[in-house]
C-alpha cells in the first residue's frame, strides 16, 4: 500500500521537477532560486506539501549534505530527488545544507503518541539504543538525522525502506531496522512524529 501511494505522488511531480532541474543545470548555482524550487515540495514555510515529503527545515547540516550527495551518487534512490541533486556541486550542497539547517523546524501539528504507543516505541528504542546515535530528544547531530517531529508517514516509509534495502545509503541503519520487529514500526513512527522538542533545543534553532 505504502509503495503504491508513494509512486502516485512521485509521478505527479516528476514533470515539474525535471523542468526545474533542466533549467538550472547549465547555469550558475543560485541559492535563492534553488530554495524556491525546494519550497515547491518541502514547503515555503517549512511544512511539506504532503506527508511523504520530509521536513528539511532545521535538519542537521551534515545529514542534509550527505543525503544530497547520496541522491546525486544514486546510493539513495528517489525519482523526485535524484534529478534535483544531479546538477549540484559539493559546494552547492554545502550551501543548501547551511541555509536550511538555520531555519526553524516547523510544527506539523502531529499529536504526542498515547501512552501505550509511546511505551511500545520506547521498548524498541531501548532495545536497539536509538538514542545512542539520534540523541536524547531525537534531535540528532552531525550526519545523524533529527527524527523528532518529522512526518509520521515519511518516517514509517523510510524505516521500512531501510529494512527492505530499498533505501540502501546506510547499511548500519538497515541492520538496525532488520533487527527491530516489524510490528514496532507503526508505534515508532507515531512516537517520533509526536515529539515536540523546541523547549529542549532552547530557541528552536
Amino acid at each position: 500500500m505504502l509503495h503504491v501511494s508513494r509512486r502516485a505522488v512521485c509521478a505527479a511531480f516528476l514533470i515539474g521537477s525535471t523542468l526545474f532541474a533542466g533549467s538550472g543545470s547549465a547555469e550558475e548555482f543560485n541559492l535563492e532560486e534553488k530554495v524556491k524550487l525546494c519550497a515547491t515540495c518541502h514547503g515555503a514555510d517549512g511544512v511539506p506539501i504532503n506527508k511523504q515529503t520530509p521536513v528539511i527545515w532545521g535538519q542537521n547540516e551534515g545529514y542534509f549534505y550527505l543525503q544530497l550527495r547520496d541522491f546525486k551518487r544514486g546510493t539513495r534512490k528517489n525519482p523526485l530527488m535524484e534529478p534535483i541533486a544531479a546538477p549540484l556541486e559539493k559546494k552547492d550542497m554545502y550551501a543548501l545544507a547551511a541555509y536550511f539547517t538555520k531555519k526553524k523546524w516547523p510544527n506539523l501539528g502531529q499529536p504526542p503518541a498515547p501512552a501505550s504507543v509511546a511505551a511500545k516505541a520506547d521498548s524498541a528504542v531501548r532495545s536497539v539504543g536509538c538514542r545512542g546515535c539520534h540523541l536524547d530528544h531525537f534531535q540528532g547531530d552531525g550526519t545523524t538525522a533529527r527524527l523528532a517531529g518529522q512526518s509520521r508517514e515519511y518516517l514509517l516509509a523510510t524505516m521500512l525502506a531501510f529494512r527492505d534495502g530499498s533505501r540502501g545509503n546506510n547499511p548500519g541503519m538497515s541492520n538496525l531496522m532488520s533487527a527491530t520487529p516489524e510490528d514496532d514500526f507503526e508505534a515508532l513512527a507515531e512516537y517520533l512524529a509526536g515529539l515536540q522538542i523546541d523547549q529542549y533545543l532552547g530557541h528552536g534553532r
Binding site: S127, R131, G142, N169, P171, N175, S178, A179
Partner: protein
C-alpha cells in the same frame, strides 16, 4: 568544525593535552588543532583524515618529546586505522603507523587469549580470502584512547579496536591483525615493536578500548618485570610483559560470560557480556602498594545479530546489530583485581552499568562515578564505600587529582553518557581533600 562528522556513540570528547604554551585537541571532523594556551587562539590546524570516509576524533592527544600522538575512530565505518605523531610546533606529520598491516591474515587462531574456542570456520575464511583478497583497506582498527608512553625505552603501548564491519566476519577473512590487540611501536619512528591479539577475527565488538597502564608486575617465576595491563571488553584484565607484549596472565572474569563465544545469527544469539563489554572505554587505575587495579564493569544481556552488506563508503557499517534483551537485569561493578595473581580482590555491585573510569590515590582511596549521578570514594583495600556525593547528572568520566600550593583536589565531570543514555549534565566539580 565542518558539518560532516561521522563518529560512534554520540558526540563526545575525551580531553585535551597541554604541552609548553599550547593546548592540543582532536575534533569530531577529524582535525587536530593547536591553540595558544593563554588566549585560545588557533596556532595550527591539520586535517588528520576525511570525515566523509568515517574518520573522527574523540580521543585526547598525548604530547611527549615534541610529538603529538593521536589515533582515529571509525571502526564502525570501515576505515583503515592508524596512530600518528605530529610535530607539536608545526603540525607536520612525523610518522604514521597503520594499525592494519597490508597482510592482516595472521595465523588463523582458533582460541582467544583466555583459551576459549571462538568457533571460527577457518575453511570458509580461507575460501573467502582466496576470493576477496586481504580486506586491510576497510578493516577498521580504530584507536580510541591514549597510548601509554615508556620514556625509558621510548616505546608507546596502545590498544586497537574492532574490525569492520563489527559483526560480519564473512567478508573479512583472517585474524584481522592488529584489531583487538595490544600494540607497541617506537616513539621516535613509529616502527612496530610487538603486539598481542586478544580475539582474532572478532565478530562481537568485544574489542580493546580501555587505555593500557604501565606498571611493574610479577611474572610467572615471581620476578618483578616491567608490565603493561589492559582491561578488555571481554571482562578480563590482561597482564603483559612490556618487553615483547607477551601475555603473562589474565584475570578471573569480572563479569558473567555466559555463552561466550556464541556466533551471531540473523535472528540474534544471546551472549554475555553485551556489546558494551565487561569494561568499555572506562579507564582503570592502579595502587602499586596493594598490587591492585580497579576496573568498572557492565552487565547488559544482549543478542548479537548478523546481516551482511558490502562496504558502504564511509557510512555506518555494522554487519548486524546488538540488541539489549528487553526487561533483562542490568547492573555494574567496581572491581579490584590483583594483577600479580589475576584474582579478584573485591567487587561491589552498582545499580546501573558503569561507564567512566576509576582514580586510585596514594592515600588508599578509589574514586568512581555512576550513571545516576553518584560519585563515590571506596576503600582501596576492601571496597567499602567511604564517601558519596550526588552530582545531579551521570558521572561518566574518570576523576583526576591535582594539587595547588600543597592543597589537594579531586575533580570530575558530570556530563552523563549518550551511548547508554544516562542523564546529561554540564558540570565539572572539584573537591578538596581535608
Amino acid at each position: 568544525m565542518g558539518p560532516v562528522t561521522t563518529y560512534c556513540c554520540g558526540p563526545n570528547n575525551r580531553g585535551v593535552a597541554i604541552y609548553k604554551d599550547k593546548v592540543y585537541m582532536g575534533t569530531l571532523d577529524a582535525k587536530l588543532v593547536a591553540l595558544d594556551a593563554k588566549t585560545g587562539s588557533l596556532i595550527w590546524e591539520t586535517e588528520i583524515a576525511d570525515p566523509e570516509l568515517g574518520y573522527s576524533e574523540t580521543m585526547a592527544p598525548t604530547v611527549v618529546d615534541g610529538k603529538v600522538l593521536i589515533g582515529t575512530n571509525g571502526g564502525e565505518y570501515g576505515i583503515r586505522g592508524f596512530v600518528r605523531a605530529y610535530d607539536a610546533d608545526t603540525g607536520e606529520l612525523v610518522w604514521n603507523f597503520h594499525t592494519i598491516p597490508e597482510d592482516s591474515v595472521g595465523e588463523w587462531a582458533t582460541h582467544d587469549a583466555t583459551g576459549k574456542d571462538m568457533h571460527r570456520d577457518i575453511e570458509a575464511e580461507k575460501a573467502a580470502l582466496a576470493k576477496l583478497g586481504d580486506p586491510y583497506k576497510t578493516l577498521g582498527g580504530g584507536v580510541w584512547q591514549n597510548p601509554a608512553v615508556d620514556l625509558k625505552t621510548k616505546r608507546i603501548y596502545f590498544v586497537v579496536g574492532n574490525p569492520s564491519p563489527d559483526l560480519d566476519g564473512s567478508i573479512r577473512p583472517g585474524d584481522n591483525l592488529y584489531t583487538d590487540s595490544l600494540v607497541s611501536v617506537d616513539l621516535n619512528t613509529g616502527e612496530y615493536v610487538c603486539h598481542f591479539q586478544y580475539i582474532a577475527h572478532d565478530v562481537w565488538d568485544l574489542d580493546a578500548v580501555s587505555p593500557p597502564i604501565l606498571v611493574d608486575v610479577k611474572d610467572n617465576d615471581g620476578n618483578t618485570v616491567p608490565g603493561v595491563i589492559h582491561g578488555g571488553k571481554t571482562g578480563n584484565v590482561y597482564i603483559h610483559n612490556r618487553d615483547d607484549c607477551s601475555l603473562i596472565r589474565f584475570s578471573e572474569a569480572m563479569v558473567d560470560q555466559t555463552g561466550m563465544w556464541s556466533l551471531p545469527t540473523p535472528e540474534g544469539t544471546p551472549m554475555l557480556p553485551g556489546a558494551n563489554g565487561g569494561v568499555e572505554w572506562s579507564v582503570m587505575s592502579v595502587n602499586p602498594d596493594l598490587g591492585l587495579t580497579y576496573a568498572v564493569n557492565l552487565h547488559q544481556p544482549m543478542t548479537y545479530h548478523v546481516e551482511s552488506s558490502p562496504y558502504p563508503g564511509g557510512k555506518l557499517w555494522l554487519g548486524g546489530a546488538f540488541k539489549v534483551i528487553p526487561d533483562s537485569d542490568q547492573f555494574g561493578n567496581v572491581t579490584a583485581v590483583d594483577y600479580n595473581t589475576g584474582k579478584i580482590k573485591w567487587q561491589k555491585k552498582t545499580p546501573l552499568p558503569m561507564m567512566g573510569g576509576t582514580l586510585a590515590t596514594a592515600g588508599g582511596l578509589v574514586f568512581t562515578g555512576e550513571g545516576d549521578g553518584w560519585f563515590r570514594a571506596y576503600d582501596a583495600e576492601n571496597g567499602e564505600v567511604l564517601w558519596s556525593f550526588f552530582a545531579g547528572a551521570g558521572v561518566n568520566a574518570p576523576a583526576t587529582a591535582y594539587s595547588v600550593d600543597g592543597k589537594e583536589y579531586i575533580v570530575v565531570g558530570a556530563g552523563g553518557n549518550t551511548q547508554i543514555d544516562f542523564k546529561r549534565g554540564n558540570n565539572i566539580i572539584a573537591f578538596t581533600v581535608d
